[in-house]
């Protein structure tokens, strides 16, 4: 009976003629909506344009070289710009920060989601949110004056007992302003980011799966291992990458606690490290127009790297959250 009438009429074109005011409204809002894209485009355009000459003369050496030599005008020598050491140093302090921040953040997120008593949850979330709101200059000052003396002592202990491992070796007795300390300060700065994203992801773990695990006699830990981690893995990794992105772009806090040296060293306790962002501030004040272009080029590389990390991180987090 229902198949008898199989000839459907064609779909009508629904023509809505928007009023003039709505046309204006939509145009204005759309322009506003696209402005973020425009700004991002302009940033890459201007930094690239200013740094183009440096990219041209240095070529790949800008990324791989680790000499930053600005000769005086009377010397008449060509300048050399290479941020390889800075990129290496950035990665090192980022990894050190993640090494400390990741387990603590995931642990704290688990604590907040499954262990903390109710009265403690709200204040703890507040603490984490306040941490996230603290300006980086504050972390810098605190890191330099408060954390560094302690960290120096810890570094000496590590060197004393683990010095046979190459990365803890010390060619000189200089324990301050090391990648290790910069990594510690960054770790404290990115803990709130990773914690809150992990917590959000853990909170979305389907309750029925959790209850199913408990119903099968799981302990809390085996439930977390078998349900929460498999579900939230992507989101936690994404959160860690967002943290890494923040660590890589951090300028002022790293500058105060890191001795910037254009050299690639594997000793993380030694007072010599690198960070692209801090190097820009370090060189900016006395830069001549030519060097300034090299700094713009460095900024462009930094921009691309962080944008890429953020893209990837958000992609992973969004995918996990949507599942």
């Amino acid at each position: 009976m229902s198949t008898a009438t199989s000839t459907l009429p064609p779909k009508r074109e629904i023509t809505t003629k928007p009023r003039f005011s709505d046309k204006v409204f939509r145009a204005v809002v759309t322009t506003g909506g696209f402005s973020s894209l425009v700004i991002l485009g302009l940033i890459s355009l201007f930094l690239l344009y200013n740094g183009l000459n440096v990219f041209r003369t240095e070529g790949l050496g800008f990324i791989t070289g680790f000499d930053w030599i600005v000769p005086l005008p009377e010397e008449g020598l060509p300048a050399q710009y290479g941020i390889g050491a800075m990129l290496y140093g950035t990665v090192v302090i980022g990894l050190i920060a993640l090494f400390f921040a990741f387990p603590i953040s995931v642990g704290a997120a688990l604590f907040l989601s499954y262990y903390a008593p109710d009265w403690l949850k709200k204040p703890m979330v507040l603490v984490i949110d306040v941490m996230a709101a603290i300006p980086s200059i504050v972390f810098g000052l605190w890191g330099f004056f408060v954390l560094m003396p302690h960290a120096e002592y810890w570094a000496k202990l590590i060197h004393k007992y683990l010095g046979f491992i190459p990365i803890f070796d010390m060619p000189a007795n200089a324990f301050t302003r090391s990648p290790f300390i910069a990594g510690l300060v960054l770790a404290i700065m990115i803990i709130p980011i990773i914690t809150s994203i992990s917590r959000e992801i853990f909170a979305q773990t389907p309750l029925d799966r959790i209850q199913a695990a408990y119903a099968l006699g799981a302990t809390k830990w085996s439930m977390i291992k078998s349900v929460v981690f498999p579900y939230g893995r992507g989101g936690v990794v994404g959160g860690a990458m967002l943290g890494l992105g923040r660590a890589i772009g951090e300028t002022v806090a790293v500058y105060t606690v890191l001795n910037i040296v254009f050299d690639i060293r594997i000793e993380v306790l030694l007072s010599a490290g690198g960070s692209v962002a801090s190097m820009i501030v370090n060189k900016f004040g006395e830069a001549n127009p030519d060097e300034l272009k090299a700094l713009m080029a460095s900024g462009f590389v930094l921009f691309l790297v962080t944008l890429l990390i953020n893209f990837l991180a958000n992609f992973i987090i969004n995918r996990t959250a949507r599942e």
């Binding site: 459907l8 009429p9 779909k11 009508r12 074109e13 809505t16």
Partner: protein, 281 residues
């Protein structure tokens, strides 16, 4: 014969209602839906529905959920097109003119065909007074005597006595039933010829429901009302005519539409009878 009881009781209600209403002057404008089809994407949800809604009557649309009633009345005031994948075919004639004709000013159409939603939704940032008069501002209409309009709308919605001393309070402070009547008053302010109600009582308690039904009956003297409802008793109590929608898993169809007493006492279609006697749905 005990199974026929619900039919009889509902039929009695419906008959009593028609009788009490008696002959009234036909007011307002009718609206006619001709061969309406609707789609969401490729999914065909309404198949060839035609109903003529007579001026000054209350027409109830009943049927199990998912049979396309709500989609159908949203087609009647062009709210259907807000869903990006939506498409339709057929014509909706208001005063003999197709409201889907290209070049029509949609905002004017919606002014003439008011709508009350399932959940009471007074505008949260406005007071009771501002809520009632919001349509004037939204559609940029000018009215010489606003306080007179305010009072008459609230009176017609049956809310005046309850709120006349608190017109400057926020709408959210009212009870659910009062909020819904406020929404009715809000629709009345722009004097529509047709009022669409999409399950207006489904979120309300029985007391408020009765109060709204009273309001609907009073309003029907002056306008055409179309009400979608899940509640067969409600259809029997308030409507002059009833349309029964059903979907057999495919698109929703209009099974039959005639006077309410006929639908409840003497339905032509077996499926209508099964539905109104409570055998399914």
């Amino acid at each position: 014969m005990s199974q026929a009881n619900p039919v009889h009781s509902l039929a009695n209600v419906a008959a009593a209602h028609s009788a009490s209403k008696g002959d009234h002057h036909i007011a307002g404008t009718g609206i006619e839906a001709k061969n309406i089809h609707a789609w969401f994407g490729d999914k065909h949800v309404i198949d060839d529905v035609s109903i003529d809604f007579f001026p000054g009557t209350v027409t109830a649309l009943i049927g199990p959920s998912g049979c396309g009633k709500s989609t159908f009345i949203r087609i009647l005031n062009r709210m259907h097109e807000f869903i990006p994948t939506a498409a339709m075919a057929g014509e909706v004639l208001l005063e003999g003119k197709d409201i889907y004709q290209s070049g029509t000013d949609v905002t004017k159409i919606r002014l003439g065909i008011g709508m009350v939603f399932q959940k009471p939704n007074p505008f949260p940032s406005m007071t009771i007074k501002e809520n009632v008069l919001s349509g004037l501002k939204l559609a940029q209409l000018k009215v010489s005597n606003q306080s007179e309009l305010l009072e008459s709308c609230l009176v017609r919605a049956g809310l005046w006595n309850e709120v006349k001393d608190r017109l400057n309070e926020y709408g959210g402070a009212l009870s659910g039933g009062q909020q819904q009547r406020l929404c009715i008053a809000r629709s009345l302010a722009v004097s529509p010829q047709v009022l669409l109600m999409d399950e207006p009582c489904s979120a309300l308690d029985p007391g408020s429901t009765l109060r709204i039904e009273e309001t609907i009956r009073e309003l029907s003297a002056s306008m055409t009302i179309i009400i979608v409802t899940h509640n067969m008793q409600q259809a029997a109590r308030v409507s002059d005519r009833t349309g029964f929608f059903l979907s057999d898993g495919g698109p929703g169809r209009l099974i039959e539409c005639s006077s309410t007493s006929e639908i409840f006492s003497n339905p032509k279609d077996k499926r209508t009878e099964d539905y109104v006697t409570g055998r399914f749905g």
